[in-house]
């Protein structure tokens, strides 16, 4: 596994953007059947790299001129002179070829869903990056698509300015651009999540040392930037709850006829999500800074367990150590040995196979039982075990049903408990009784928890221990 982000970071902008888009172009043009076992890439020409360099040189000069405010046609000869220093071996002919090529339409096909049907479309204008004037002179200029291309290729490592992106939220709110907020929030949320993932990876993965160094080399910027992200989301939240904005939103909302889905609470929820994501980033960042010295010196690498195995064979540890590892590495206790605060144990013959024995659920909805369930279980322990020992789980449920609906209604209070009932030959049956507390406010005292629903479930066999 190599560090993809490092590769992406180091590739020249033009190359990166072209590489990112290349598969889409290939997807349309490469003639491969959908069920083909092999996906081949189009064969590049022998001088593919050089062509890319010539095209990049051309665009770079046009970009420099654009930055100086010059958007008009520029002679190829002038471009050639300007690139002489860095690309002295690139000829005027090669630049001209690049200009002619990039200036020719190349239909790009796509499909869109519109009015419930799929519409085939194509664009050519977006593919023409330059305007080449070969008829009257030998000149070239950027098209609007070309200028977009340059903007895209400059989008690198934008986390540096993520706070500015988040500030768009407050700006959109203050200016009443409510329909833009969901998209801005989604985009920022995603960015922050990726940033958090990158930080989490840096903390766990010494392979990310270079990424760590990059983070840390700009720590004076990143730290405050992350703080500003949080502040920006707080400001946006505060604005959203202000009377002025609420009135503005109501007025805006009344004018909306098309998209009635945007609500103020929905916007608040979206911005709260961004705020939580910003908080998370800042927490992980703090951890990274705290652990920076340790991460910088920690050993880098994964363990070669084949070598560890060879070493084990050559010089094995004691059997006790092996056993201790096997106990420790694979957890504790049997899965069915769920300990509760109330365990009832007794003997039980193997429960015969029964269609209902694998998992039976029994729901009781008492009207506000308020005695502790566990107390009920304790009081009825003998009876429960007696019924169980009859070997028919059906009878047990019938029994509970009878009690639940009879005069001796089980109170169904308390948390839940698990019976572990081993029999002499090692088979186990478990009964888990779960009480669900849905009214936490009603906790009366330290001894009981009120519940409003209970599941009584018989589980048989260790493989059946998970909740559904």
């Amino acid at each position: 596994m190599n560090d993809t982000s490092k590769v992406l970071r180091e590739l020249p902008g033009q190359v990166l953007a072209a590489a990112l888009a290349s598969r889409f172009a290939d997807l349309q043009d490469t003639n491969i059947a959908q069920d083909s076992q092999t996906i081949t890439s189009p064969q590049p020409t022998a001088n593919a790299g050089r062509r890319m360099r010539a095209a990049s040189a051309l665009l770079r000069v046009l970009q420099a001129r654009l930055e100086e405010g010059e958007t008009k046609l520029t002679p190829i000869s002038l471009i050639h002179r300007e690139r002489l220093e860095e690309d002295e071996d690139i000829t005027q002919e090669e630049l001209r070829f690049a200009a002619r090529f990039l200036g020719t339409d190349r239909p790009f096909h796509y499909e869109e869903a519109a009015d419930g049907r799929i519409v085939s479309r194509s664009t050519a204008v977006a593919t023409r990056l330059v305007r080449y004037d070969g008829s009257t002179a030998d000149r070239v200029a950027l098209t609007e698509s070309g200028r977009s291309w340059l903007r895209i290729t400059q989008q690198r490592d934008n986390w540096l300015f993520e706070d500015k992106e988040i500030e768009k939220l407050a700006s959109a709110i203050a200016n009443g651009l409510f329909d833009t907020i969901p998209q801005i929030a989604r985009s920022n949320h995603t960015s922050l999540r990726l940033m958090a993932e990158s930080l989490a990876r840096a903390l766990q993965h010494p392979k990310s040392r270079e990424q760590n160094e990059l983070w840390l080399s700009k720590r004076e910027h990143y730290g405050p930037m992350m703080q500003r992200c949080e502040t920006a989301t707080l400001r946006a939240l505060s604005l959203l709850s202000s009377d002025g904005i609420q009135a503005q939103f109501d007025a805006w909302s009344e004018r909306q006829t098309v998209d009635g889905k945007i609500t103020l609470s929905g916007l608040q929820h979206a911005v709260q999500g961004v705020h939580a994501a910003a908080e998370r980033v800042r927490r992980l960042w703090d951890q990274l800074i705290e652990r920076a010295p340790q991460l910088a010196t920690s050993s880098v690498g994964s363990i070669d367990f084949t070598a560890a195995w060879r070493q084990y064979r050559k010089d094995p540890p004691s059997e006790d150590l092996d056993l201790s590892f096997l106990s420790a590495a694979f957890g504790w206790g049997d899965a069915e040995q769920v300990m509760s605060f109330l365990d009832l144990e007794g003997s039980l013959p193997v429960i015969p196979a029964h269609p209902r024995a694998r998992r039976l659920e029994f729901h009781v909805e008492p009207d506000g039982g308020d005695e502790p369930l566990q107390s009920w279980l304790m009081r009825n322990r003998e009876r429960v075990l007696e019924v169980l020992s009859d070997g028919e789980p059906r009878e047990f449920f019938a029994f509970v049903d009878e009690v639940a609906n009879g005069s001796d209604r089980p109170p169904l209070s308390g948390a839940w408990t698990t019976f572990l009932i081993p029999d002499p030959v090692g088979e186990r049956a478990r009964i888990r009784i779960e009480g669900t507390n849905r009214y936490e406010d009603h906790l009366s005292d330290a001894e009981s928890i009120k519940v409003t629903a209970a599941k009584i479930r018989l589980l048989k066999g260790p493989e059946d221990h998970d909740d559904p």
Binding site: D3, D304, F305, W309, P316, S327, V338, D466
Partner: protein, 290 residues
């Protein structure tokens, strides 16, 4: 947290080991878990009572965010793992692995079961960590580390072949290892691997991936597993403490250096062009990502 709340959370953690504050795609939360999570949410940042109680059980509470575990969605994740430095109470000391995994039909001794256990554990770790380039501390990529039983069998088979080339050791302990591993037939190895995987699924170390998730047909395909989040956390936090002897000696002997293999520019495909060779066609089995 009140004693009752601690009891509720403890029960849930003991039975499930990992609890999720919010739903995570592909995983259903039971009522028990939701209830425990409500308690944890209300007590957020005030877990000292719970932690103290867990310490008496030789357990440690680990609090992470889903993002740190490489899981989709958001929210907190709570896990308990053994604290190898603490003496756990009796009910937590188990020989559950040995009991489940030992081959009763062959009157296997505990020593032989332990050899099988260590052998297959190291194969597992090779596939989950070494082959994936994961450090022991890496939890974030655990859900992507899929292993299939056929591949596991191949590696185990190759390692056994290596043992067969060894000379018969004189030392008793080494001879036990040697004799345990040179005997079994391919079919026996297959059964043993199946039993190992099944045991680890039962003990919550591995999760079997359903055919619907792998995209393979249900019938006739080998089983595919992934490491559980709990196991990834446990290894990240504990492995160096409870198994230093397995990676002991000179760490450099068993460490795969990272810097040497990290050549992003070359691996992006430029090398082939520089040497003038044609770029190889990309097969449907995509190579490892750059």
């Amino acid at each position: 947290m009140t004693p009752e709340e601690i009891g509720v959370v403890y029960n849930a953690l003991r039975s499930q080991r990992v609890l999720y504050e919010l739903p995570v795609r592909g995983r259903r939360r039971g009522e028990v878990e939701k209830h425990a999570m409500e308690i944890m949410a209300n007590a957020y940042g005030r877990f000292s009572d719970l932690e103290e109680f867990l310490r008496t059980q030789g357990l440690t509470l680990i609090v992470k965010e889903t993002i740190e575990l490489g899981l989709p969605g958001e929210g907190m994740v709570y896990a308990i793992i053994r604290d190898p430095d603490a003496e756990p109470p009796g009910h937590l000391i188990g020989d559950q692995f040995i009991r489940r995994f030992s081959d009763a039909r062959r009157d296997e001794t505990a020593a032989q079961t332990a050899v099988w256990g260590i052998f297959l554990s190291l194969v597992l770790l090779q596939l989950l960590y070494t082959d994936e380039g994961r450090t022991l501390e890496n939890v974030i990529d655990s859900s992507e580390s899929w292993i299939d039983e056929a591949n596991f069998l191949d590696v185990a088979h190759n390692w056994m072949e290596e043992v067969r080339k060894d000379e018969v050791p004189e030392d008793e302990r080494r001879r036990t290892i040697y004799e345990t591993l040179i005997g079994p037939s391919a079919a026996q190895l297959e059964r043993r691997v199946s039993s190992f995987m099944r045991t680890l699924v039962e003990l919550g170390v591995l999760e079997e991936i359903q055919p619907s998730e792998t995209g393979r047909d249900e019938a006739g395909e080998v089983k595919v597993y992934r490491q559980s989040v709990w196991s990834a956390i446990d290894i990240a936090e504990n492995f160096r403490r409870y198994a230093p002897h397995l990676i002991g000696g000179d760490p450099m002997d068993v460490m795969v250096a990272v810097g040497a293999e990290e050549r992003p520019a070359e691996t992006s495909g430029d090398t082939a062009e520089e040497t003038g060779s044609a770029a190889p066609p990309v097969s449907s089995n995509y190579p490892e990502e750059d």
